[in-house]
Every structure is written in C-alpha cells, then in structure tokens.
C-alpha cells in the first residue's frame, strides 16, 4: 500500500504548521514591508505633488509680480520720458520766446534809436536848409528885387485862373474895409500905384467891378514874408506870392515825405494846397 495514513496525518500537520510558520515569518513581514514602502512612496509622492503645486503657485505669483513690475516700470519710464520731452519742449519754447522778445525789443530800440537819429538829423538839416535859404534870400533882397517881386505879383494877378478870379471879385465887392496888401519891404509910391492899377485893371474886366471907381486897398509891411507880396481880403480870401510861402510849402511837403518814410504802411496824406480859394 502506497498510502501510509500515519504519514498522511503527519504531513497534514506538518503542512498546517508550515502554513502558519510561513505566514508568521515570510508573508506578513514581506507584505508589511511592501505596504510600508508603498505608503511611504505615496506619502512622498503626495508631498512632492504638494510641493510642486506650491512651487508652481509661487512661480506663477512671482511671474505675475514680475510682469506687473515690468509693466509698471515701463509705464513709469514712458511717463517720465514724455514728461521730460514736454518739459524740454516747454523750456525750449520759453527760451525761444524770451529770445524772440529780447531780439524784438532790441530791434525795436535800435529802430527807434535810428529813427530818432534820423528824425533829428532831418529836422536839423531841414531847419538849417531853410534857415540858409531864408538868410540868403533876405540878404539878397533889395529894391530891384522888390521891383521884380512887384512885377511877378502883378503878372500873377493878371494870370489868375478863372476859378479864383470871381471869388476874389466877389470879396472885393462885398468888402466894407479896404483889402490889405502886405509886403516884406515898404512899397514905393510907384509900386503901390502899379499894384492899384493892376488890381483895377484885373477886376475892372469884371462887370461887377466896373461899377466902382477902384478897389480900396491899404499897404502894410510884414518882414516875415521874406520876399513877396500878399493880398488879403477882409473875408479871408488871400492872393500871395512870397518866398516864405514857397519855403513853407516845401517844408510841409518834406515833412510829409519823412512821415511817409517812417510809416510806409500809413496812407499818404493828401497834399494840401498852399493857397486856399
């Protein structure tokens, strides 16, 4: 018989003991070690995950902060650059304005100075010229000149234009007082009669004057006329020929010319007539 039942029982017992022993000495410790290790690995992985997440968070935060900082810096820099540019422009403008105004002032003062000098020079020149002219003419004036003056006056009377003549004739007609004839020198009796005759002739041509015997006149000496004769009616009409008139007229026109040069844009004043009608 191949089966020994005692051996079978012994082997069953042996096997059960072996099972217990193996559990005790092999499976439990080994499985425990494996479990411990797995737990440990899991814990470490979890820890690593946590740390990684934390690191990630921190990195993100840092990046965010960094980006914000960069942005802020760039903004500040831009702002500063802009401000500096504006400030620089403003300073430049101010400086330019100041320089402009200074230069304008300087130009103005230069011009004024020049102008004044010019003015003074001109005035002085003018005065000198006229003074010389007056002096020369008064030095030259004598009896023969007076005769010439008288002749010229008489010629002018006769050459009087058609417009002036009736006006003067009307004045003589309505005059109560005699007309005034002024001259630089005392006129001689010949000269006076010549003038009287000339007046009579001139205005006797007029039908209104024919009614009268003659034109009433009186004579007066006026040295300021320099050289010349002037006929003035009571109503204000005046017929004159004198060097002083010429000089006055010349002076006036010179003054106007100077004024025009000073103010080129100003309108040219209309020339005044020396003789009023």
């Amino acid at each position: 018989m191949l089966i020994d039942w005692f051996t079978v029982g012994a082997q069953v017992l042996n096997f059960l003991i072996l099972v217990w022993l193996m559990k005790r000495f092999l499976y439990q410790p080994i499985l425990h070690a494996i479990d411990e290790r797995e737990k440990r690995i899991a814990a470490e992985l979890g820890d690593a995950d946590t740390k990684r997440a934390q690191a990630e968070n921190e990195r993100n935060e840092f990046q965010k902060k960094n980006a914000a900082f960069e942005k802020q810096r760039a903004e500040l820099l831009n702002q500063a650059t802009l401000d500096a540019k504006i400030e620089g422009q403003r300073l430049l403008d101010e400086a330019r304005k100041a320089a402009d105004s200074l230069s304008a002032k300087r130009q103005e003062s230069l011009r004024n100075e020049g102008h004044h000098l010019n003015q003074t020079l001109r005035r002085r020149t003018q005065q000198e010229v006229f003074a010389i002219a007056r002096q020369t003419l008064s030095d030259l004036a004598n009896t023969s000149l007076e005769d010439r003056l008288c002749e010229v006056f008489i010629r002018r009377l006769s050459e009087m234009d058609a417009k002036t003549k009736p006006v003067l004739a009307e004045a003589f007609k309505t005059a109560i007082e005699p007309a005034l004839v002024r001259s630089a020198f005392e006129l001689s009796a010949d000269q006076r009669s010549l003038i009287q005759n000339a007046l009579n002739e001139t205005f006797s041509a007029d039908p209104a004057a024919q009614l009268r015997t003659g034109i009433q006149i009186r004579f007066e000496t006026a040295p300021e006329l320099i050289s010349g004769i002037e006929l003035a009616t009571v109503t204000g009409q005046k017929l004159a020929w004198s060097i002083a008139d010429y000089l006055l007229s010349l002076e006036k026109s010179l003054d106007e010319l100077l004024k025009d040069q000073d103010k080129p844009l100003a309108k040219v004043m209309p020339e005044l007539e020396v003789n009023s009608p």
């Binding site: 051996t7 193996m22 092999l26 499976y27």
Partner: protein
C-alpha cells in the same frame, strides 16, 4: 523497487513511524522557515533594500498576483495557504538536484495529505465567504439532481490532485533511477533538468488548481452575504 520515500523508515514504534518523507519534509520546513527568517530579519521599508528581500518580494507579490488573476478578490486571505502549497512543492522539486534527497512530494501520502488540505480548504473558504447555507446551496446548483455529481467531482478532483502530483514526482525520480542504470553519465542530467521543470510546473498546477477550486467555491456567493475576512495574511 522503491516507489515512495515512505518505505525508508528510520525509526518505528508501533503505529508511529519516522520515515524519509516526514524527515525530508521537516528539512524543507526548516530551510523555508529559517531562510525566510534570515531574510526578513533586516527588512527595509526604504526604497533601498537587499537583493534577497527583492527576491522574496518578487515571489510573494507574484503569488499574490496569480491568485488575483484566478479570480479571488482578496488574495491576501488565501496567500498563506496557496503560497505555502506552491513554495513547498516547488522547494521539494528544486531540492531534487541535491544528491540523496528524496522529494516528500514523491510520496503518495504527502500528496494525499496536501489534496486533503485542499479538500478541506475549499469548503472552509467557501463557508467563510458566503456562509454555511450559501456554500451548501452551491452543491445543488443548478438543480438538486446535481448534488451527487458535485460531491463526486469534489472527491475525484482531490484524488486527481494527489495522484497527478505523486505520479509526476515519482516518475521523475523513477526515470532518473532507471536511466542511471542504463546510461549512467549524461542522460540522467538532462532528465534531472527536465524533472526540475516538471516539478516547477506541477507546483504551479497544484496551487493554481487549488486556487481555482477555492475561487469556484467562493464565486457563487450572494451580494447580501459579503462577509469577507479582512485578516491580512
């Protein structure tokens, strides 16, 4: 012709006999237990560990995985029983390379004892999982007529387990013995290698079949009887 190490008797006192089977079984037990003890003395729970610990871990987790693949949900419950079965048979086969060693699994008494253990373990785990009623009900599934067939299958498969292991182990030793007398030099070595392979395969088959039987006994449990034994083994 000696067919079993049972026939080598060292000591006998009436009914009690101390034969080679028992002695070599003790030897194997000693080797297994002392080896485990030595290796697990300095177990490390760190990532760094000894090669022997790695070796044992591979074996233990390998067995665990195999049990799980058979279909048992809580492999650690069965690890003690099935793992020891495998390790004992595999160790017995492995030790055949030692001259003068008689594998205890080459004795029909041993294989019968192991088969009887499986025969008891199947209802034990079955009842543990689904209760006595639930387990007994599996005998009359799908119909009451199947009860005798179920019982016959239970006995026959136990017998098959015992005889299969015994036949293989015995034949291995036998063939080597016969070949030694015919071609004493090279051929027995080849046959020894073949015997090693056969022994490993048998150890695997024995424990896998035991696992399958237990799985079959625990699989038909009802959802309301989820009384699992959570003892870590």
């Amino acid at each position: 012709m000696r067919l079993s190490p049972d026939q080598i008797i060292y000591w006998q006192h009436g009914f009690v006999t101390l034969n080679a089977t028992i002695v070599f079984t003790w030897g194997l037990m000693l080797v297994l237990v002392i080896g485990s003890k030595l290796i697990t003395l300095k177990l490390s729970t760190d990532l760094q560990r000894s090669r022997w610990q790695n070796f044992l871990e591979i074996i233990v987790t390998g067995i665990e995985k195999q049990i799980e693949e058979v279909g048992l949900k809580e492999p650690r419950t069965y690890l003690g029983f099935l793992g020891t079965l495998f390790l004992f048979i595999a160790m017995a086969s492995l030790c055949t390379v030692i001259p003068g060693f008689e594998p205890p699994t080459g004795s029909l008494s041993t294989t019968v004892a192991l088969a009887l253990c499986v025969l008891v373990a199947v209802p034990f785990f079955g009842i543990l999982n689904q209760g006595l009623g639930g387990y007994l009900k599996s005998y009359v599934q799908p119909t009451f007529i199947m009860l005798p067939f179920n019982i016959i299958s239970e006995i026959s498969r136990t017998l098959a387990l015992a005889v299969r292991l015994f036949g293989n182990m015995m034949s291995g030793s036998m063939i080597i013995g016969i070949l030694l007398s015919i071609t004493p030099f090279i051929f027995p070595i080849v046959m020894t290698l073949l015997g090693l392979l056969t022994g490993m395969v048998q150890a695997y088959i024995f424990s896998i079949l035991a696992a399958v039987y237990i799985a079959a006994a625990t699989r038909t449990r009802k959802p309301s009887h989820k009384t699992l034994n959570n003892n870590p083994t």
